[in-house]
Subunit: 414 residues, 4 copies
């Protein structure tokens, strides 16, 4: 038996690709559509409106199609209120609970569309009926882990409106709108210059800049340049791992005295005992901050982070040596710390680390500007595919990217 539902879409739905994706989803999934009304914006600043009825041969197919349309911003013509079910136990969500996207979202509760706070994908959506200071309702995301017995959790998709990012009306500069491709052939220097301009602009507007960094930043000799950016106040949060911190500290403790590591070209492995010794020295001192205070560590990225009160999270992993006492070894606890950083960030710069970049990316709303730099195109592609609407991917050597970025950012300071 043919089933049908009518949905509405509005906004810059043609040039943002929304209609293409919606029509495509209907056809891909074997349904059909009937456009009931389509008012096309006459100019680039005018929004469009579309009302269409979608049909399918069975309820299952229709549900799958409506799910896709929902993800692209469609709402039922006559939306009912959000469907809330109390969580039966801690960490247990009701069947058919609503799993969030990373796009701005609203819920229809008590006759009003209210904004969902702490946007993040793959979470539960919880409504607190009187959670606001004025006693009105609030809605926010919660990870599965954080769900508590009795939380009112949204189920299915009724009463929920997703607002995927729209194509900016102006060009958008380097930060392309949902461009899938990543090219190693784009003129590097001019792209770096645009990132530098954005970084300066965000800081001038009082924004928050988060850097996610892997050990290759240090290996490739780019540590000094990153430390310079931190010292000059361009970094508000650093999200990294035990390996990054240890390599940076090792350079401070052993790099100069032995005078060999970065100047000569010896294989990293050969000096690996310094890596372990560094961890041992930091454990002995009682942590990184103590080691800075004791003068054991006197330069580098971690040193500048301590000195400049940068919000630093070192997340542990199973491949760590040590780890350093500052490393958060529990993955859930570390995620929560990263989540706190990510929700504050206005610009995120990911430098040569897949693991930490994915962890941060998982917590970001689709509206946060993101720059991802790695020498491996697959890493860049994987990160951009996770769905930031305004992202730059660069396939380049981190060892030349960071110094060039620092030069462009800092030269304006002189």
């Amino acid at each position: 038996m043919t089933r049908s539902r009518t949905v509405e879409l509005e906004g810059h739905i043609i040039d943002s690709g929304t209609m293409q994706r919606c029509f495509g989803a209907v056809m891909d999934l074997g349904g059909s559509f009937d456009v009931e009304q389509f008012d096309v914006g006459k100019h680039e600043t005018e929004e469009s409106y579309c009302r269409l009825t979608v049909s399918a041969d069975d309820a299952e197919t229709l549900r799958a199609i409506l799910h896709e349309l929902h993800q692209n911003g469609a709402v039922l013509e006559d939306p009912s209120a959000v469907d809330l079910v109390a969580a039966p136990a801690d960490k247990v969500v009701p069947p058919d609970f609503y799993s969030t996207t990373n796009h701005p979202t609203e819920v229809l509760y008590d006759g009003e569309w209210i904004d969902v706070e702490r946007i993040e994908m793959d979470c539960a959506l919880v409504v607190d009926p009187d959670g606001s200071e004025d006693g009105s309702a609030r809605a926010y995301t919660k990870t599965l882990n954080a769900v508590e017995e009795g939380d009112l959790v949204a189920t299915d998709e009724s009463g929920i409106r997703v607002n995927p990012p729209e194509r900016p009306r102006s060009g958008g500069g380097a930060f392309g709108f949902m461009q899938g491709g990543v090219s190693a052939e784009r003129p590097s220097e001019s792209t770096i210059r645009e990132v530098a301009a954005e970084l300066r602009a965000v800081k001038e507007d009082g924004g928050n800049v988060m850097v996610v960094a892997g050990p290759a930043v240090i290996h490739s000799g780019a540590g000094d340049a990153l430390a310079d950016l931190v010292a000059a106040g361009y970094v508000d949060a650093l999200s990294a791992g035990n390996g990054f911190a240890t390599h940076d500290l090792e350079r401070s403790i052993y790099g100069t005295s032995l005078g060999m590591n970065v100047e000569t070209l010896e294989h990293p492995r050969k000096g690996h005992k310094h890596h372990i010794w560094t961890i041992s020295e930091i454990i002995r001192a009682g942590g990184i901050e103590a080691a800075v205070e004791d003068g054991i560590v006197s330069e580098g990225v971690m040193y500048e982070c301590v000195r400049n009160d940068v919000d630093t999270v070192l997340a542990g992993s199973i491949r760590d040596d040590g780890p350093l006492p500052d490393t958060i070894t529990d993955a859930v606890e570390a995620q929560d710390a990263i989540r706190g950083q990510a929700h504050e960030a206005d610009l995120v710069i990911m430098l040569a680390t897949l693991l930490h970049s994915v962890a941060v990316g998982n917590c970001l709303p689709s509206t946060t500007k993101t720059v991802c730099v790695d020498i491996n195109p697959a890493t860049v592609t994987q990160l951009l595919d996770r769905g930031s609407a305004q992202a730059i991917g660069m396939v380049t050597d981190i060892g030349t990217f960071v110094p060039t970025l620092a030069e462009f950012v800092l030269e304006g300071d002189e």
Copy 2:
């Protein structure tokens, strides 16, 4: 002074992404638009129509915008005839000559839209006023090299209509519609099964299958499987290089007698004198066909190609050893031979060769189905980006892909 022109688009212009690209181009290039009419197809089978006026602050910007719209299928509201200028000398085209896309194209000549033959990108478009058998006009592409003095060459974009491929109304199966992405995570076996089904279907319809193959096909032990496909009649044309042929012939001449190369795991380099000796033996015999007739070569891909009259082109390159006497060493001559193969093909399977695949891809219309397989994602991405509308990209090991494909194709024969 603001300049404006009015253009029209029709077809499945929303779900094929045409309108998104057109509106995007106007905004990216700094123009503005005014939608004068937009009739949206009510159902998935109904075409849409759009008439819009595009404006820009100067003629140069307007020209750039109209170029982008033209490439996406827009035509001026009141198109004038194609603008033809005689080529001033052999290989020399008029200034501002029209450079073709790889999409189906028509020219407005003598009051009629006539189809352009031999669709291929980056060519000149030549009109022969009485080139048909019935004395009417013909239009076709010519590479710069082939242009002759006096050829009537189309200039600028007036009177030319491009028809970019539209999204197929049905799902399209494995052959996705202009999907940029290439994933190594897609279920491999089921994709290979779809390629096998397509290969069988094309042959059942009397279609032409072209295989483009690199030396890795032989190195990875997949030569026997490819030879089986050739022997069973599933390959109409083979486009490869001197390296591919030599490796295949080497296996036939030395592989079995020494009994080591493919069974053991020795490094290819170690047996490299066999590579040179193979070339020398084929030169001595007078070519591959002679070597097959003399019984020097008695198995393998080249053997089966000779036996089954497969249209084989071996194109030379500067990295070749030898080369074999069958190799076309002149790049222009080789391109023409490849062009002949490509224009005949209904399905092209590209196996682990960037150079030859790009050469073939350059000659293909955007409507030809294409499968591209390589273990390097960058190669697959680069090939799919060249613009086939119906393409499959697979990042996988050729040494297991070809045997699996052959098994799926041939098992249906039993």
Copy 3:
């Protein structure tokens, strides 16, 4: 002032590359050598002996050279006993503590060379003077984390003898001896056949087979084949992450009922809510084993692991969704569990996961046979570089590798 020391090396030190590395280290680091005696083994089965005096202009250089020679198996001509210092506090090692290699190692204690147990690189080396059942001394490695106040920790390199693996006298088959290179051009099927033979041989000898697996094993459709290997008893330990387990469980819970995921070609992201729902279902059931018992999970790798009592470790990471209740979220605790698996393994097969493979590789002695398979050559190279002496690296598609391996292993069972 020139400083000198005399060291001795013995064994198959020419054909294992030991002498090349030792002479090279002396020259690279700016020292000089004087060969006092060199008895070259006359035949391939005869060992060689070398005594050489090494000189350098200063003590620091000499120390660096001796460190390199030590790592390659050299011992001082007249070795003194191991130098033990008590750990001053928990997790704190003495300055200049000895950081272990992953090669078999002995310490000279109380006049006797005793074997170091639990060989693993980058650990402290602890001697327990009366740790054996018979009251004699024992020596073993301890990670920095595990060091307790009062542990007698070896410092500098005196009294410690490292035994790097030697080239096997016979060819060694697919398991090459410390070959750096990884080739995508090696004949894949015959290599897989050798791995299958080794897997069967290890199990026939009562050995322990450990599989390290990433989510791509499931994404690529290879889950069934791995489940078959587990069901047939060829896998003793599974080391994976939350992502691998969730994907596998999702296939069992949602894969079949919806009938789409693996058969059709839809993008993994589209079905991502199933991923979250799967975790929620397993949390509701109380864990994987409970879900198997309740019949919620009735096929797949995790199902077979539960049914066949496979030693399974799921290590958490900061990119995890959920996580599943079975996931060990603390990195140090997870490492210890992995360490337990790694020390038992006779053959380790690493499938498409960099993070877990590195974690396992960090715990392996250099004598454990290792197979590493990934479609990204950089991953394979990185893993083999960590120093297994008998390793196979394969750059290939996991989606075809595992089914082919299973076929070769299991066909012998029929």
Copy 4:
């Protein structure tokens, strides 16, 4: 029946790895050895000498073993003269002809060891009995193509001595000795500094610098920096393709006037009609030199090459558009031109092109210093594997490498 032969090796055969490879080859191929004499050099400056008898169960195995030993520099204890056979026809070599390595080689002719000229791998070795000016014999390589009827071609391996490069006695700096690995983690800036120093040193010694460049040099915005190096006289030869030259010329002709290509970030494809138009303009002018003279081209790499009389070879390929009139379209003719450049070069810098780099690498003796830079590790590995003894591989972005190199090279000029 056991067969044996006695061979001799001398030189720095332990620390260059020669003995390891020779002993390994005997064992790998199933033979056995008997060391009759082994005089080990006492110091790093003293050479070693080894005489060993190799045995195998059959003549075929012994021959394979002796071939490996020969390639590593072993000579029969009592060598006979080189075995010469006249070529039976043009391009046809005698059966069992000797295929050259890329190492320095001598032949024993008329009782004297004479050096082979024009060292290049995979060639025939021809002796001209009275080819010298003084009427004495000469020996040189000839590609199969160049062999003429009657040429005296060496067969099997008797009377031929190969001298593989030995480990330099001093460290060698950045130019490592036959190191297989390529690391993206090495400190980039210091490596570039070493390349710059070597480039300056070669030019100061009156040496010849050859640059091999791909189109990505221009795409990535590094064209100006390369042009600067050419203008300053640091480049003696440029080996590239039609694509590189066209991109460079396009920047000169269209880049500035339209002011968009490199400053903005538009996709390369969008401006592709400029590519074709550029070729057309150069054809119209009659070639690059004519276009420079006419003022059509007034900056860029090709412009500076014309102005500075750089030996430029543009080799054609089947993926070329056009091509430009300056492009050598015949692969054999182009190879010969490249060969001429390669044999003159003292330092070769390969920039982001696999095809042209392999073509050049094929013609280089193993003693030529080589730098290979590409963002794809597989490209770098493949090139270094071809056997230069003194090579640097860098996995980095060409768009930052070339400007940084130019800065380091040119800053010394001020």
